[in-house]
Symmetry: C2
């Protein structure tokens, strides 16, 4: 049986500390259909970072030019630097039948969902705000005021969870990953991106 | 964590011989959340059939009265008898947080999809028309002209496969069942019917 496929754009989001990064890395590793997208940024490369692999490092002028041409699926300014997900390479992957996954903060996720209504959007939830606090404090790298700010943001982001198609509670990471994988496998069977041809013979 | 749920209406359809009945029975058996719907019919009960269990056996007058009140999610006339899926018991199950599954021919499925846009629709495909013919002939109960009629219908039904949200090719029944189960488990995580509450503690 001949089966044609179209790629899926998977938007993985959730509050800082919910664990979307871990789920993202694991899915990228285990699912050969999934590809990542390299972001653009105007910040300087850190030691060891490779242009075109970790980020595309560009000037602010070049970034603004791309922005004017609607070249980003989403973008944000953080601490005076711009970051953005380029539109063209994602579209090209999808058209080639490959899937692309974005690990992205909720503000960016809402932009992508508006721009790409066929995307599959998954919001990762912490089991409780107390647990989220423990995870953020457990990183040991965050100042107390940053933890409090992230917790305030998390409340606002969780309040918007219904904007996403799917919700995954990350209580235990193995179970959360299995739920995410189930969503991805089901979405591969959608009639909008899965085209089996029933042969005569 | 408190999790509220809304039921799912699962519409399982496909051409005669694709194997939807087997998948339906197995999912009903394995998934405790899934409930079946008892249809109404105007035909007489066969020996051993129980009213309210196999069908609700009603007069044509009673059936037409329900039809006038929009009491069916779908209905059809077959060999001079009416058959219909009653609306009210399905809605009540869904509101109680239970899921309901319908094993239904493509004409009925399209009616349900129009009437209940939130339903999950899955179309079961045979791997080939040759295999479909083998299955229909293998039943041994069908006259050759019935087999030919079912095959003609199947071609028309397969041509409308994109009306369904999901496609499952039933090449091997265990694999087809696993795909169906994946779809059902993913759909349980939809933000429209799955409401986890992130607690403070």
């Amino acid at each position: 049986m001949l089966i044609n496929k179209k790629g899926m754009l998977l938007v993985l989001s959730g509050p800082s500390g919910a664990g979307k990064g871990t789920l993202y890395s694991r899915l990228l590793q285990e699912d050969g259909d999934m590809h990542f997208s390299v972001s653009y940024t105007t910040r300087a490369p850190r030691p060891g970072e490779v242009d075109g692999k970790d980020y595309y490092f560009v000037t602010e002028e070049a970034f603004r030019e791309m922005l004017d041409k609607d070249g980003f699926l989403e973008h944000a300014e953080v601490h005076g630097h711009f970051y953005g997900t380029p539109r063209e390479p994602v579209i090209k992957q999808l058209e080639a039948g490959n899937s692309v996954m974005l690990d992205i903060d909720p503000q960016g996720a809402l932009q992508v969902m508006a721009s790409m209504p066929d995307c599959v959007s998954v919001f990762i939830l912490p089991p409780s705000f107390a647990e989220l606090r423990r995870r953020l404090e457990g990183r040991g790298t965050e100042k107390q005021e940053d933890v409090e700010r992230r917790l305030r943001n998390a409340r606002g982001e969780v309040a918007l969870k219904d904007k996403y198609q799917y919700l995954v509670v990350n209580d235990k990471v193995d179970e959360a990953f299995s739920r995410l994988k189930t969503i991805v496998e089901a979405e591969k069977l959608r009639s909008t991106r899965y085209f089996p041809v029933v042969d005569e013979e």
